[in-house]
Symmetry: D2
Subunit: 402 residues, 4 copies
């Protein structure tokens, strides 16, 4: 259980920190300006520039443990790098081609995709030439229970026909988004976890209708391609678009979710660090009633408590990454749940305090805090609400004594 | 300390509940549609229709205790009515001509305005023909300390010349917003609380520049005219535009803030009730893992705890209103601070739990919860952050034993 | 819903405050000394002296709304008086003959006792000549569910025979404790809430065995007669000792619990006020790092937050008392649950902060805080744990929308 | 930063777990019985029996990194062992001769004691033949600020004369307690941190008066020798009893406190684990309203949340231990403060929930929970209240940006 950075990690950290300092952080106001000026859903140019620069520097596809397609880093090596990107989560992850949902989709294709699927979709994703969406959650049902999925994928000859309605398909409104991975039921009568399959649906296929962007506390997350509600009506794709076999959908989803949750948590540590830094700077600069906030009591409590909480959360994320590397994602199941519960709450707490220290400016577009807060808050719901994870984790704990 | 509804209140409550049921709640989706379709800052028509209907029904200017200009209700009579409007805070308060910042501005004009000022600005405000903004907070300083105000109001002959920068001037981007009340310093060398004055500045005066709308989390609050950053450069108005005398600004601000805070808190009780109702309905309807949420443990804890917190907060608001009626706003100072601290936090908590019970839908535009949450969160900062109020309240408590 | 003190209450408040100042507070160190020096379970003399003085002053049996036997005060009149006694909860309630469990037992006898039972037991209790215990909770079962009660009360000729084991029978080790009210099942096959009966058992009856005193965070509560574990083995009492009829036990228990919970909550408000006063005094006196604690940030947050929480809790207690007076204990059911949930938690929070402000002295016998804390903590469990009340309250809330 | 157990640790863990299972846990009820039956402050026999057995098994002085006198384990090796002893904190640490305050006192003597001091006092302490106390905190002053110390140590010829009053001298009422280490001022006019010295005072020296035992909530901690208030009046000891030189007191205290805090935190992890185990067992066994608690909502939330919090806290303790081993206690200063803040609060939270799950039994002497809770609560104050550590930690964090 050695969490020290090895030489590879240390080298990449140095390079990444330099890239952040020189390129990403200065690009934040540029992004804000380009978003404000552009039509909705038009891709801000600054992102493409950052991608080019990152790729030139070899800071590319770091998330992918598969050495054939990606950087070949372990989870433990990737963790401190993902944390750094979390300090600027609307720019850095995508700049490094390490942004959700593409990361998860690339993992799925790398692990379960056929050679043809990999050639057609994985390659351009790895190159950052296209983006993708993952269509799983549905508006009408509690999607944390996969047996509720109502979308149908029916075989007809050499094709599959897809009918259903999805939402929170992040990235789907990105103009570069070319491909959807859709989860649906091929056999509703099969055993509970063999009913579902996953299939590739190019966005331009007839019958696919991107209806609207969902908002998150008022934010449309346009620079990421938003979160779409998508309707599939009689959508036909070649049978070869199925990923793996019929009934493999649930297992693929499980394989995909573990790393996804961990990546979120790694980045949340970085968000919290960013918030703490901003809170400290504000406390030093802002004078109220004759003294800087930093010399007044309760802000110091917040700063200390933030440091204490961040440290604990980071260590649990590192332990989880290490477990995934050593005993596999399944063996790390409890820890993945634990960080899914603990880390968004921690980040939300630190961000709330940082906002409060900034006064009304903290809730506005002038600081990144409010938007980061909305991300952290949403992660208490994304990939299953905390409450579902808590019940599951408790059952496992109780089993030790039953 | 009798909190029961008297006959007047009971009658108005019944009429208001009917108006809410028949007009306001059905107008919510209409507002959302009109806002989505319109250009930013264009006034949605549905609001004007509601205003007309409310006025026809005599549900108009209920907030104004002054019988000459308003409904002549006490704070205790108004409290349960304001609470009801809080259930739909983006429509009901304005429909009844009881929305901030107009309410505070009308109070200022009714109490401190000259006959000419009342004729020119109070009359059309009371009629709902124009709207207004209040320009106090400044971006560069901790505005909870009024001695920090940097805007200057200088006398030159028969005019005052105003220079400064304000932000969070709510309503200023409303196309119907015609008049600003601006706080600035007429004499920076006077005694601490006699440096400030308030002055009326018509929006169209040369030198007034509404620069941008501040966002609250991702919301622009366009239906209310947003929250503007406004620059005043060499703005000249007649000397008769001064409200009261030079140096009266701080006292007027204090007189204005008390009722404003209480009105916010009354409405927050209604927001929390709305959230609790939505949480209950969701818990009854939504099935996960084979049972409605309502039969699963933690949601019931949230519901019970919400009820317990709302009841306590409401009683403290009522006591505060009763105190204002009986011993005046000054005598109710501690209680006004207490509700300013307690009620937004309470509402935020209930809203957070209601959001969580709704899953990802809870953070989206499909339910009012996320936007209500953003309002409640912001009220922990508006009119002075909680922390300032806590220190002040504690000092008063400590004085009893010093 | 008028919470103001009427003339009777105001007069009694003044007299009670004087009695507290002149007699009760000065008696606190005397009690501590007498307890430290005496054998366990010997009654400290100071309590009898206070009782005599209180009775002389007419501050006696204030809790009993029944004018025939008690002071005839409403709950709303009694609330501010009980609050005052809560400031010194180990002396004042008993001094006024208003201490649990005697209060509840006297209420039971006044409402449900036969003339003979009232003569034999109620009279000496009202005179403060004897004390009593209430034997309901059992060690082996979740006693918040009354159908779990395992103690048997069987009729044999003119007698009832009682067998069972009880614990947390408060006061049973008091040397003056003469009578137990015991809850048991007369008919386990009857309808759910008609299985139980209550019966009077003189402590000296053969077969009654007081086994040991339960401790509460190390405290034995000896001055109150502790909390006993009591075994009943073949205990025979005359049939006339039954209170009401067979099967009335559950209803009597319900009638008894409502006022009991409210009295606890009234006193908890006083405990919290005491804690807040001690915290303020400590903050003013104690100097650390060159300044009194009162000038350092976080203690001020605690003081303000304590005031805000106490005010809200008190109002909810008053509303509950008012409801009990106007619509009866049953109509006030939800509010009784609400204060049972809210008030102990509030008092615990304030006490915890007051302890922290006192440093290690705060957890010791040198200040009343730690012992008060233990009482408040225990009330989150007594008369049913918070969680049971929350589920029940939530069900009622959900019913409004089902 | 490798937290894995090495072979030595793994071997000792196995042996210690066996010792706990076979000897310590079965001795818990024996201790309770012996304490209940014995006079206060008489040493329960069972402790001596456990000490003998532990020593026979080589489970002895594991805390002492100094290979000459102790087991020579690193902090990281000792951490999981200390955690295990924390599961039975009233027996296991003393059984292994690893209990405070002896541990700290042995460290002081091993590091700073003269050969004579080591022969006379360290040797018998290492053998478990005597016990010791540490007299630092004083009743009249905020002792977290060492410059407040009022006890005087004056040189007179070949002797030092000591005058002062101490309290919370843990272990001083233990009949085997033979030696006190006393902190006082030799030169009140010296530089801030050179005023203090430490000196050895045999308990039987004339002028030493152990006045009373302080209580922690209602506990006297008699099996540990309690927490004494001790008066020193004209106490004379040979000059050779000074530890180190005059003015070294503050530095020695600092050296002593670091490991002491870490040991407390290691054991608190074990206490929390014990509480979680008891909560799980109770939840499985206890039936209320027809179902085991384990199937009801909120207990599962508590169990999951406990696991999540314990894991994070343990990792931070391990990191702190590792830092102390690699960069020294001074380099680990921030982390020592962080665990001092985080771990007692965490343990208190878990214990509170475990108590609640046990109903009234949880606060009583029938389960270890209430007494463990009192320990955890007290550690939020011992060695400086949380608030002092938070301010200090925040200042360090702020310095990074100043």
């Amino acid at each position: 259980m050695d969490f020290a950075h090895d030489a590879t990690t240390e080298q990449l950290r140095r390079e990444l920190l330099e890239f952040m300092e020189d390129f990403v952080l200065p690009a934040e106001p540029v992004l804000a300006r380009q978003l404000a000026e552009a039509d909705p859903w038009v891709k801000p140019e600054v992102i493409e520039e950052l991608k080019a620069e990152a790729r030139r520097r070899g800071l590319w596809n770091l998330f992918l443990p598969d050495r054939e397609h990606g950087a070949g880093l372990t989870n433990l090596q990737y963790a401190p790098l993902a944390e750094i990107t979390g300090r600027s989560p609307h720019l850095a992850p995508e700049a490094l081609n390490c942004a959700a949902p593409d990361t998860g989709n690339m993992e799925v294709l790398a692990m379960f995709g056929s050679a043809g699927q990999q050639r057609e979709w994985l390659r351009p994703l790895l190159d950052g030439r296209i983006r993708s969406a993952f269509c799983m959650t549905e508006p009408e049902v509690a999607s944390s229970d996969a047996t509720n999925i109502a979308t149908r994928i029916r075989r007809e000859g050499d094709e599959y026909v897809i009918d259903g309605r999805k939402w929170w398909s992040s990235g789907a409104m990105n103009p570069e988004c070319a491909i959807f991975i859709v989860m649906g039921k091929t056999d509703p009568d099969a055993e509970r976890h063999r009913q579902q399959s996953m299939i590739l649906v190019p966005r331009e296929t007839p019958g696919v209708r991107v209806e609207r962007g969902m908002r998150v506390f008022g934010y449309d997350d346009a620079s990421h391609g938003g979160h779409a509600e998508v309707v599939f009506e009689g959508v036909r794709v070649p049978a070869s678009n199925l990923i793996g076999g019929e009934g493999d959908g649930f297992a693929i989803a499980q394989a995909r979710l573990g790393p996804g949750r961990v990546h979120h948590c790694m980045r949340l540590i970085g968000m919290a660090e960013r918030a703490l830094e901003l809170m400290c700077r504000r406390a030093l600069e802002r004078v109220a009633f004759g003294r800087p906030l930093a010399e007044q009591g309760v802000v110091r409590e917040w700063i200390a408590e933030s440091r204490v909480r961040i440290e604990q959360a980071r260590l649990l994320v590192l332990k989880t990454a290490w477990l995934m590397d050593t005993v596999g994602n399944k063996g790390a199941h409890t820890e993945i749940q634990a960080i899914k519960i603990a880390v968004p709450l921690m980040a939300e707490w630190v961000l709330d305090k940082a906002i409060q220290a900034h006064g009304a400016a903290g809730v506005s577009q002038d600081h990144p805090l409010a938007e980061l807060w909305a991300s952290a808050r949403t992660l208490r719901l994304a990939d299953g609400p905390d409450e579902v994870h808590r019940v599951s984790l408790a059952k496992r704990e109780l089993k030790r004594y039953a």
